[in-house]
Symmetry: C2
Subunit: 340 residues, 2 copies
Amino acid sequence: MRGVVLYGPEDVRVDERARPVVVKPTDAVIRVSAACVCGSDLWPYRGEDPTSEPTPMGHEYVGVVEEIGSDVRNVKVGDFVIGSFMASDNTCETCLAGYQSLCAHVEYAGAGGAQSEYLRVPLADGTLVATPGQPDADLIPSLLAASDVLGTGWFGAVAAEAGPGKTVAVVGDGAVGLLAVLAAKQLGAERIIAMSRHESRQKLALEFGATDIVTERGDEGVAVIKELTGGYGAHSVVEAVGTQESMMQAIRSARPGGHVGYVGVSHGVELPGQALFFSGVHLHGGPAPVRRFLPELIRLVWDRAIDPGKVFDLTLPLEDAAEGYRAMHERRAIKALLLP
Amino acid sequence: MRGVVLYGPEDVRVDERARPVVVKPTDAVIRVSAACVCGSDLWPYRGEDPTSEPTPMGHEYVGVVEEIGSDVRNVKVGDFVIGSFMASDNTCETCLAGYQSLCAHVEYAGAGGAQSEYLRVPLADGTLVATPGQPDADLIPSLLAASDVLGTGWFGAVAAEAGPGKTVAVVGDGAVGLLAVLAAKQLGAERIIAMSRHESRQKLALEFGATDIVTERGDEGVAVIKELTGGYGAHSVVEAVGTQESMMQAIRSARPGGHVGYVGVSHGVELPGQALFFSGVHLHGGPAPVRRFLPELIRLVWDRAIDPGKVFDLTLPLEDAAEGYRAMHERRAIKALLLP
């Protein structure tokens, strides 16, 4: 089968790879209908995370179950399914508490590389959720979004306790940040401030429910947020970048007692204890437990109540994956969808 | 009047100082019935916080209102009152949200030094809470505890979401940590693990409601907490020290999705972003909004439902304040009460 492999910085290739098979009785193998390039794939693409050997890429996927292990009960061959990037048993205490991405038996669902024709998904019963039927083609991008970016933005908004009466600021205008705007809107936030300086992303943020756009960053960005909130800061701030600057911008944009939900994979961040202490904020985040939200997100997409698939502004055949990475790296595209 | 002044490391003196008067119409002056030495007073006492000039000490107090400014409505001359170490208006959005210690008009209530015969308290209406009447003498230590250590330990337990069905671990066996144990018990926690290697403190922790004592620290302490909790970690962890080691011990002792409430004043702490991200914990803390809890804590003390005053294992006349500092510094005393 064909699959995307990263060989090193800016070196993305589509290789012939072994088609995955069921290895454990809890596995499923799916035929990938659509996959995509994640903002976090850009860390190794840019060399900011090292790539020591050729690495199969991709951890977002929707597809049709092709084969299941003997212990799999919750999905069957032919089901159209969505899973999180982290495979989870969905039965341990951590899963039952809603933290499936940190499951006691967690495995990386993208280990085999989801940007490919087939994918082995471990712990299929706990990881995969079937849609109510075979989806219309136009729903596929939105269902695919639920696999990571929508679920991650949603978790950011939930972790930031976005809700009625709240002012929510979103730091980061990548697909996750934009979908955190959508999530905040769905969760009933009163005011949603998107921090973005890119016109196409601002436009999408407004479509998703942003009420204000702030183009300033750092100290100036914080000052504008304070100005917009009577000097107090936002009730809820979603951090969707993962750098020192964006984390501090998020923490400082929140009011005392406010909530910062951070979902940008942390890179080189060191939080100064004293500044955090005197900020008085709640801080919560980490790898999003997408599985917690999947049933609800699938329902919202299925009912066409939300259209998160709009973040895909570039659709390419799998063979052209390198161009998808390049376009996102150069910020010509928000997010690239790949069709095997 | 007589008052405690810190001149430099380990140099505590009791000086003749000007008796405070009402300066602003929102002030009250109280005759201090009892004050005490705080764990945080030991930072400058040890030279870990610099003392650039002779500094009046103390920020925990109970006493009788002696004089009020013309705008003060909520307390009157003769009332027995307790206030937090931070003066707050209790009317701004931050106060109304329960974060009075970070009030939009916050002032340090200990600016005049509460370890003295009289104290000027700013923003008296928002800061002071009167007891239902003049207290019996034996209640005074417990009422005094509410001014800071009880309120701070309580906030730590609330921030850690201690409650029914929860396993709560407490890092730090100073007065705040011990009172976090008491708070966790009052909040209905199922299991309370005190991390302590000092016999007298272990004893008090057990009296306050601890179900388990763990003497190990650092990696070993974390391993024991995991062992006691089926490998998952505690649901709630209170951090009551403020060092890098104690913060990391607290974060690593919590399960994914668990809650860390940190109330130790942060000293030299740098939280590694990636470890925090993948811990999946909730982190909340800061200077305790004691004022939020004062009415409830006063009621519990008044009804003799709790006896937080037990943390005072040394009572001295104000003139002997230096011995109180020394005894706490050398860990011969948990907490020293000073009688003007």
